[in-house]
Assembly symmetry: C2
Homo-oligomer: 379 residues x 2
Amino acid sequence: MGERVWGAASHAFPLMKGQTTISTTAADTKKPFEIGVYSFVELTPDPETGVAISPTQRMANLLETIELADQVGLDVFALGEHHRPEFISSAPAVILAAAAARTRRIHLSSAVTVLSSADPVRVFQDFASLDLISLGRAEVMAGRGSFIESFPLFGYDLKDYNELFEEKLGLLLALNEGERVTWTGKHRASLDNLGVYPRPHGEKLPIWVAVGGTPESVARAARLGLPMALAIIGGTPARFAPFVEYYRETAAEAGHDPARLPVSINSHGFIADDSQQAADDYWPGFSLIMGKIGRERGWSGITRQQYDASRGLTGADFIGNPDEIIEKILYQHNLFGHQRLMLQLGLGMIAHAKAMRAIELLGTVVAPAVREEINKRNG
Amino acid sequence: MGERVWGAASHAFPLMKGQTTISTTAADTKKPFEIGVYSFVELTPDPETGVAISPTQRMANLLETIELADQVGLDVFALGEHHRPEFISSAPAVILAAAAARTRRIHLSSAVTVLSSADPVRVFQDFASLDLISLGRAEVMAGRGSFIESFPLFGYDLKDYNELFEEKLGLLLALNEGERVTWTGKHRASLDNLGVYPRPHGEKLPIWVAVGGTPESVARAARLGLPMALAIIGGTPARFAPFVEYYRETAAEAGHDPARLPVSINSHGFIADDSQQAADDYWPGFSLIMGKIGRERGWSGITRQQYDASRGLTGADFIGNPDEIIEKILYQHNLFGHQRLMLQLGLGMIAHAKAMRAIELLGTVVAPAVREEINKRNG
């Protein structure tokens, strides 16, 4: 199934040691385990009915799901940044600000901010504004992006893919560090002791680095002492355990305390009262989008058989009833000792009522059970 | 008093004809007269007490004032884009999105989007997202900006001040015109048949051009057939009537129907139950900011005597009790036959309760009286 995965599973991990579990004490932050939802905010027609809703209705539905996620006690809601007709979230901070006004407690993040083709100054301003609006609930999840549409759109060259990210992440961190910044780089105008405003509500914005599974990306996040969001959207999750170990080891070598560096696992997921129903509801949109993206990228797509296999305990996708989701989270917690799980509830269109029910189950059934068990494990 | 004004009053108008009134039929759009409020979202200490509130509190206060403006039936709320420690609004679309979630009817605009140093693609995406969130209440007010902080911050050269604006306005309009755009310019990467998403709720975003009083800017807005927001923040408003006439003449010559091109007058203002109280409340922050900006720009600042004179019927500032504000709006409507008034309620810090009262008076006393009278005039 490696061919349907971008980033992660298409790379062999060079430091693989055969180890598949990690002591949870390695990154025991003693905070309750966090469960969140992320979305690219799809605008594809309902694959069963062929009916497409308007972008306005899609936006209203999204805001309702974030409001519900807050009400049922989920910890984070995150939005992708995409520049294609299938998605309406190209300006995550703008949408998240509307969500901030309708929520009380939930953290609001990008997933991801495509930093390589963005201006870190604008990104900082957008999320600092969001942080003021939300009383400190803003987060940035920076990544290189798995889609490449933003490069021609904003005038960047794919040959600079890695250098752009490295440089812009450096600037974003500098802006987060203090009010006035002096900075020089290759891909953005220099700053000569300039201030960037507003400053956030908190002393600093939480900045996560999202990685798709290249060891270089893992090591960069670790050396910078930044929280890591690891995308596992295919293949066998157990194979990713060494990435997490490598992250913590590299962070420690660089002088950072791994216990203070949370790890998030970001995966596809969908929850319904009945396991088969969850699978059947998620499949049409998932297969449509995976097929479309797969064709663009030269993959073979995904068969229903592969999909059903991915729902098993050792597979990557969190698609099932609440008990299955709880079991898989706890299984993966044994592998990774991670602090957060982010589920992409819907890839391709999911009927709004079903998405709402999935969020309700995640917040009211899955999250309490997972928090209680992991709290025990963390002692 | 010309020395305290940027843009407008420091330029003699070359086509001045001595005419100070214009027939309202020239731009009679038959829509009710619109009254709005704009703010740069100041973060200066209270000039009387020396106490500064936090950026978070300032943001909360702002959102409360926008909510009230909506409740009392004002038509527009607009936010500036500034990159200085005295202001917290550097990302207007983000803040406006939070306001959209708390309001029902009021239009939400920038005032202004400093387009010269922005990327029109991001601007379009931000405001199209806002338009979806607000069910079609987003507007862009594009301007060259009266402050220049954004140029070094985003790597632009002030020598390109006018060319940057012209080129970027052209791209913004092209993005608004249709989904896929092919475009080439000097100051931004080309677009080769690329789509920009999301598309707005309405067919197009309303795009206004804000002008400070240079005839070239007036003519540009007119030739492009775009609504014009004319800043009158000093001097004698009657002297601006020929600008408005020039705008309508130029628009007509370019083939646009002036009756379909609204004009907004944007001015400083503050309203209290008592005229003297309004003047005394507005003065400390106003003189502080005007003095500070004046020093940066080599002006002489403003004396209390000049300030008091500006409050008279023929002066530029709308500072007084509701009757005085109504009278001045109607006086100016005789001069300009305009369709909208935008008041900057507070330049420098105004106590929150006083700003709320000013908005209440503007919406409940001033706006109904003005709409009724202008409705009669428009027949």
